[in-house]
Symmetry: C2
Subunit: 224 residues, 2 copies
DNA sequence: AGAAGAACGAACTAACCAGTACGTTCTTCC
DNA sequence: GGAAGAACGTACTGGTTAGTTCGTTCTTCT
């Protein structure tokens, strides 16, 4: 499914080998997400697999390459989510709300993704930059958004001074925050942002925010 | 200024000692923010100070306690910012916008703070929880917000189903995102979120977002 | 069946790194 | 001026951890 896997598959690997690699990737994803790059222990990953450390180096050559494979896999997953939203038949407002909700749902159900993105940012995205696949495939998320916004502006319901990247940023910011800052927020304010009881209201809130921001006039009440 | 420092000061330390400790804290803040907790090297911190590793352990006893002191210091700084906003004479909308802008400005000018918060979240806030000072002092940020929102609701300009913590979350989410996800965003979309040219428009955007969301009716266009 | 190579395992190594032992030099106060 | 303790420096250690060595066992194909 992901590049790294296919390589070995092509050169005649067994189904068992593929399962081993996926096993390693699953465990590594959890370990890196939970402890950061430097904090993750290859021995610990090995121990939680049904394989040994030898196999990790056999298939992935180094801790860094293993980490990169993990990154590529989680980024591949979110692409699939974005592609899954059928936008065309919705009004601009509804479409925006749907996209926001889908992003919110993905992030809250894939905490490892957000944790890995945080980790990657701490390291100034130096690993991410090494993966042409991730860079190439993920820009396309924006084109969908561009279409929707353009339609909304043309219909006169959206303000025209906010572009697709801005909207993507607003949606991501809110959806990421729930997962990324969950623990400090809970520690200080004693509210678990991923509490299922809050989910519906927060899903609605992210939609409200995006739609309200886009439909607001430039000269908003309270602007300084 | 921070607890750890005063302790030693009280028991008769020289001005030089205080400078040494601050020197260590400055360097440690940068090192932890840049590399994470596990990734940070005590030797590296020592090398960039005008002191030696011995002194780090002399004043801070362990890597973990040093990290905690760093955390406490950066959290003390943001408290000062929040206290600095004079709210009373502004309208609810203006007050919200001011608070949002102040948070945005603080976060964009104190990247180490956001990085440390990210790191702390990766470790499930286990260090933060050990600091009663941080936990106690930071909840108060919410009471200010509560007053403003209550006023807005009473005046009939704000919707009543969004509470202070929600608003704090919206503001933080946007302001944090710029710094926290700067590098992956730049790598994928080639837009530096901290580019000075974007600052004014983003500062306005965060105000627009908060005000628009709070002033929107519940039955928003586009709600499903 | 048996050869070739893929898949696997246990035990090791070299480097690295948090923390320390042990000593010296300042500072303060009488 | 000298005693007491704070402030400092060098050189080390012990545990940890990424990566390896050298071997065995499966799988596949003819």
């Amino acid at each position: 499914m992901v590049g790294e896997l296919r390589e070995v598959q092509d050169s005649g690997s067994t189904a068992r080998a593929v399962r081993t690699m996926e096993d390693i990737l699953d465990v590594a994803t959890a370990e890196f997400a939970a402890n950061g790059y430097a904090g993750a222990r290859v021995d610990e990953i090995a121990a939680r697999t049904r394989t040994t450390k030898r196999m990790i180096y056999y298939y992935f050559t180094s801790k860094e390459r293993l980490y990169l494979s993990v990154l590529e896999r989680v980024y591949a997953q979110i692409r699939d989510v974005e592609r899954g939203v059928r936008i065309e038949e919705l009004s601009p407002c509804e479409a925006l709300r749907k996209l926001a909700e889908a992003t919110y749902d993905h992030h809250t159900t894939h905490q490892e993704f957000i944790q890995l993105v945080s980790i990657e940012n701490i390291h100034r995205a130096e690993h991410l930059r090494q993966s042409p696949t991730i860079l190439r495939e993920n820009v396309t998320a924006i084109t969908v958004l561009e279409g929707v916004i353009e339609r909304g502006v043309r219909e006169g319901v959206f303000r025209s001074d906010i572009d697709a990247l801005d909207v993507h940023m607003i949606i991501s910011a809110f959806a990421c925050f729930h997962v990324a800052n969950r623990h400090t927020f809970a520690a200080i304010f004693d509210r678990d942002l991923l509490n299922p009881a809050l989910q519906d209201s927060h899903r609605r809130l992210i939609g409200d925010m995006v739609v309200a921001t886009l439909t607001a006039q430039d000269g908003n009440p309270g602007s300084s």
